[in-house]
């Protein structure tokens, strides 16, 4: 079991996120729905910072999913775009903000840097010599 969305957003660094465009700003609300109960996370993105609160206020984009789906996003197991296509996750409002979740949440564990492949190719040649 990887990181849950609660753990991930709970400890999200409030410092500058240089991977976010400085011109992007907006509010996203994540609604984790299960058994008639809903838990909210409210993300305010501005000036390369992400602030997380637990408000249920209106947001530019509202994303709804089962807690397990949001957990998989937070652990990098699921891509936000495929979750949307599978209808595991619904989005209402300014959909252009949806891809921000790809930057805010981590990528899949164990992904390789392309240079690892380059190094492997060079090492492979050395080995053959």
């Amino acid at each position: 079991m990887g990181t849950t969305v609660a753990e991930y957003l709970g400890r999200l660094d409030s410092g500058r996120r240089t991977d976010l465009p400085e011109t992007t700003a907006g509010t996203l609300r994540l609604d984790a729905r299960e058994d008639g109960r809903t838990e909210h996370w409210y993300l305010t993105v501005a000036d390369q910072h992400v602030r997380v609160t637990k408000s249920g206020d209106d947001a530019d984009l509202v994303v709804r999913a089962a807690p397990a789906v949001l957990d998989r996003l937070a652990s990098g197991e699921t891509h936000v775009a495929t979750a949307l296509l599978r209808n595991e996750l619904t989005a209402q409002g300014d959909i252009q903000l949806l891809m921000l979740l790809r930057r805010i949440f981590p990528g899949p564990a164990g992904a390789r840097h392309p240079r690892e492949l380059g190094r492997a190719a060079m090492a492979g040649r050395e080995g053959r010599r």
Binding site: D19, L20, P21, E22, T23, R64, G76, H79, A81, T82, L84, L85, R86, N87, E88, T90, A91, Q92, G93, D94, I95, Q96, L98, M99, R102, R103, P106, G107, P108, G110, A111, R112, H113, P114, R115, L117, G118, R119, A121, M122, R125
Partner: protein, 693 residues
Amino acid sequence: MSRERVHVIAGNAFAISDAQGDVVEDPTTPVGLFSFDTRFLSRWVLSVGGEELNVLSRDDMTYFETRFFLVPGAASHYVDADVSVIRHRSLDDSFNERITLLNHSTQPAEFTVRMDMGSDFADLADLAEVAEGRELRGRAVEVAADSARSQLVLRYERERFVRETVVSSTASADVDARGMTFRIRIEPEGTWETDLHVTMTIRGEGGRDLRRNLESHRDHVRGGMREDLAAWMDGAPQLVAERAGLEDTYRGSLADLGALRYMPLAYNARVPVGGLPWAMALCGRDSIITCLQTIAFTPELTPATLRLLALLQGGQLDDAHDEEPGKIVGQLRYGESAAFADRPNALYYGAADTTPLFVVLLDEYERWSGDADLVRELRHPARMALDWIDEYGDLTGDGYLRYQRRNERYGLLNQCWKNSPDAIIDACGRQPALPRATCELQGYAYDAKRRGARLAREFWGDPGYADRLEREAAELKDRFNRDFWLPEREYYALALDPYGEPVDALSSNIGHLLWSGIVADDRAEAVAEHLLGPRLFSGWGVRTYATGQQPYNPMGSHLGAVWPSDNALIAAGLRHYRFDAQAGRIAAGIFDMAQTLGGAVPELIAGYERSRTKYPVQLPAAGRPQSWSSGALLMLLGTLLGLRPTGGNLLVNPALPAGFGRLELLDIPGRWGITDAYAGDRSSTAAGRRRLR
């Protein structure tokens, strides 16, 4: 034997039928009604009295509307047919077909009209594999026939993923699981008609269509498609040409480009798709190249494309999607295999050229439009793209842009425009090891750094970064001219393997190097001679791969065939180095090809010698229309006219080959407002200012 295909297009939806208007399963080509990479109808066959219909004529009114004029029965008794049938088909958000029967006799007549209907909800990506011989996976489709409402519902469900086709008829119908039957009586000289309406639903929240919840799509009304097409055509420059047929070819290409635009799910503007039938989706490379080709004609495509690509820019390291931070997307799909990540193509980043070309396009657009705000708005994605080149694109640390897939099952082996698995190969047929550095990628990287430097200096207030980029570009050019040049053959190698060994094939890629400006001045002439020499130039255009090398095959997509999009970049590169006559020969060959074939410009033609076949040989792999093929003709016109923005003005420096006569391009949009360009070949009276009409 392939049958004639008829298509209508609306956004990324399209329908392909045979000449009668019927859809009958064919494993070799995708036929039916498609939207968002899913087939919503795989069977759609009209019959009258149990007889199939034969087509008398057809009227392709616009890209989204066609009429078929038909009669029942065999060809022998057309002549005194006493009934005829009109199918009037149109596609917008839904598929519509009005069926009209005319009774030409003096007696009342009774008919049984039948439409067979069915859907397999196949993923377009599956069909591409079926065309290559793989078996199609069957899907359990639920069918609900409702005669009371004259409605047939077809539905496919997997977990929460639901796709639904609803066919309804305005005339009452007997509906069964396989279609609708109409038992009708028509008075003498009378008519009967029904409107069949087919909706295609992608299930989202609360059972509603996914797109209805998205503001961008809710605000978008498809009502005025005719007006929209007219505005598109009117908004582009007008061509007045002495050469017969050229104006029609130009307007046809413009109309094709108008057809090949769609609004992505998470977006609010239309961008180019690749083309029919396999690439009715955002393909990063095709979209960027199309924009580069069309800036002088339809500049509105470019900011929409740049903003979308910025939105979808890679954010994480992800092996399955071959994604890295800053990388520009290669493909965006919505089919079932994308949704369930059976394939990585929901957002696939396996392309090494899209990222530098993104920067090239941003700079080029500013030069034409003067839109400094866009350059500032997209500073961050452009900077991430430039950083990507060195941080993630240089796999072996030797300063060259390379590629190697990390998704070894579905990832693309070759991540450059020649992306077939055997495209990068030496003259003896040996494939180099990975990661590979193809030559044109180095040209794009060089160009991106130089243009990035201009943007940094003039718009981002970062002269230090600009200096760094310029220094890196100069070093890259020196290094490239040392390592890729084959002195005894006098051309640049197709690629380097990871150990720096050149792949010695002679290929069209060397033409892209001229376009990017990375060719040393004293080597440009040798490159131009190769491009127009007998091994590369077929008479219609430059072959992807030169004859006389073991892998050469005139029918091989990237090993001998001729691509208009490739040739458009090459011709622009030749003029860049002042090889005007050579650029003119290529442009003339491609225009001859397009005008000889008529209709939409195909993506590629066979590489046979023109003098041998006299006629351009089309290949089954070649789709049409294709955005970067239609765009190629526009770019070639711009190249012949020598259009180049300089400061606030448009410089016109024409070089027309013989046979073009006089040429006028009126109302060219740009930072100058609108302006005109006039040209004439040597036979016409010197580039007169007098208008032709």
